[in-house]
Subunit: 380 residues, 2 copies
């Protein structure tokens, strides 16, 4: 544990400004397209709730396509060394509360944080017992559990888990499972880019995904999932856009010292560059492990992963965004959006039309040649 | 003219927070890698000066490669309808002061805003007299003028101008000229992506650039230029990175209502995603034209382009950034950086290693096929 006092949120600090100044700051930092959304007064003890909506002009030839998204950030409820079955059950219990609460607020699409059924144990480099958290994507206990909740609540659920692929020699993947609102397993996406950064030793557990950049066409919109470290890769975001995504979820697990100044930048830039909505979801809290581990930074071995700073948020194609959830507490962020805003933004900014994909298809093909020479101009 | 009072800067508003809160806000918003740089006390009336430096650990096998960059944002000094020769001369006079001032602070590389030798007249869609501002990139009066200043001050100068290409039928381009510190014309880059957004009618003047993504190898680092609207295109930023850029300048002209919430996001995301420094330079002030024009937004014809909000800033590969210059005044932003931070960041984050360029070269090649079908998963 870092021992220092974590601040509640950026927004809580900014709220100390006077009203007029705060309005100007918010306009520059967050744009003007987002406002509070009224939802039923729901009493829950386990997490905070924030709700917003993005504005969108009416069109003449299309009806609005209103969708409500819910994203959930949470601590692991038990000690990381509690038995696996108990930890998973505690997480399932919390998840059920979150989904039922989201349902009361008419959420249509719900997404958890990365590897939500387990502690983020990849810092340890231990295989035991963590590999035992892996589940079959289609028939594992978590998918079965969520299928019931999905059909009961008429909700699409995105469930990022550690996947065990029994059909291919028991290998592991970092995978997001998509369950549709009728409870059917719609498919899965495997994390395309795997970090080798600090405590993120994930490349010792699983490889780069082999599922491409699928977009899942649901009753509530065309959605995709860019898992965690993939948010650093603009090409990953781009391909989801090319495949037609309207909302891209970014379930993550990232810590303050490593990435906090980047957090508000990357998913939001992706929303702007690709004219779709993005939902950035981070873990929250500090996870302590039983055995000490080193972090490849010259410092002594220790038992915690640093502070997961939460601050989950949603960004719109026009560059507006919601405030962030808390940096320290469990939270459910609900956001209503009209998916028509995607095409409207494409028409307005013209980024797809002016994108010159053909140029870059050729440039990248040249660049990956081992004999590639960069285009450098210098005085001879 | 909008008539409303423009705020000084985001930073000026945030400075009303108490010291401890401001420190926390800055850490989240701007990272911790940037601090004030002491420079000689220089008295100038025409523009404000701000100076910063980015920190960078020492290496064992490479000496630090310290470079000082200066970027300049300015209003057009005369009325837009003043004679062309007078306007250009007034801008040259201001430029000379800026460069001489930067030289006193030991700046090595200097960059102007987009199309700095003229009003940003593309809003008017008039060809007369604006096309007359165009100059030959290599032998035009502005390049000749700057060559003298470059050699006198031992400074690389990037000069974004409207280019007249006499060798190819007199066509126009939006071009950045690079002059090395010995006064030699090093080469040019033509803007790759041309906007069709609101008053940015640039596609009626010039086409998408045909100079690829050149990186200019200078004595002070490998530099590139992503002109204005190209900052919305992650692939454009990417190719400069692939070609080895260490600093990418983004000379721009963009207005508040259109893009301000995006401004702090895009160039900074590019710095993070490509592990190089980026310098985002915006015009400042409101330019009024003699003849009214409409903006394609259903509103009455008018004579101004809206407020260019300045706020030029520099971002580092590790995600830290400088504060922004003023939203309302001319400004010179000076920043010292160790270019070794680029490779250090590549080693730390591993974004190039994990980039899977081969995957995307193939994916984009498939995507540009007119018969391309997106990867969509739906229940049958």
């Amino acid at each position: 544990m870092s021992g220092k006092e974590e601040i509640q949120s950026l927004e809580q600090l900014l709220s100390k400004l006077d009203v007029k100044d705060l309005e100007s700051v918010n306009k520059i930092l967050y744009g003007t397209g987002c406002s509070k959304l009224e939802i039923p007064n729901i009493q829950v003890e386990d997490f905070e709730i924030q709700s917003y909506k993005f504005s969108c002009p009416r069109e003449q030839t299309r009806l609005p396509r209103i969708t409500r998204v819910g994203v959930f950030q949470n601590k692991t409820p038990l000690e990381t060394w509690a038995p696996i079955q108990e930890q998973r059950q505690a997480l399932h219990n919390l998840a059920e509360k979150a989904i039922e609460t989201a349902a009361k607020a008419n959420v249509n699409i719900f997404c958890f944080q990365e590897a939500w059924t387990m502690p983020f144990a990849f810092c340890t480099r231990e295989k035991v017992p963590w590999c035992e958290y892996a589940e079959d994507a289609e028939k594992g206990p978590t998918t079965r559990f969520l299928q019931n909740l999905a059909v009961k609540n008429n909700m699409v659920i995105i469930s990022p888990i550690l996947e065990r692929d029994e059909d291919h020699n028991d290998v592991l993947w970092n995978t997001a499972v998509v369950i549709d609102n009728h409870g059917y397993y719609l498919g899965k996406h495997r994390k395309n880019h795997i970090p080798r950064v600090g405590d993120f030793n994930e490349s010792t557990y699983y490889m780069e995904g082999n599922t491409g950049h699928p977009v899942f066409e649901t009753e509530f919109g065309k959605i995709a999932i860019n898992i965690c470290y993939g948010r650093h890769h603009p090409l990953n975001w781009l391909m989801f856009g090319i495949n037609g995504a309207e909302i891209v979820f970014n379930p993550s697990a990232t810590t303050g010292e490593l990435s906090e100044p980047l957090w508000g930048i990357e998913a939001r830039n992706a929303a702007i560059a690709n004219s779709y909505f993005t939902c950035a979801i981070n873990r929250v809290g500090t996870e302590i492990f039983q055995n000490e581990f080193s972090s490849g930074n010259g410092k002594p071995a220790h038992k915690d992963f640093g502070h997961f700073y939460g601050a989950s948020y949603i960004a719109a194609p026009n560059g507006s965004r919601t405030p962030g959830l808390s940096r320290i507490n469990n939270g459910l962020l609900i956001c209503e959006m009209d998916l028509n805003l995607c095409r409207q933004t494409k028409d307005f900014w013209g980024l797809q039309m002016t994108q010159r994909l053909d140029l870059y298809a050729k440039s990248l093909t040249v660049a990956v040649d081992p004999d590639f020479k960069p285009q450098v101009i210098k005085r001879i």
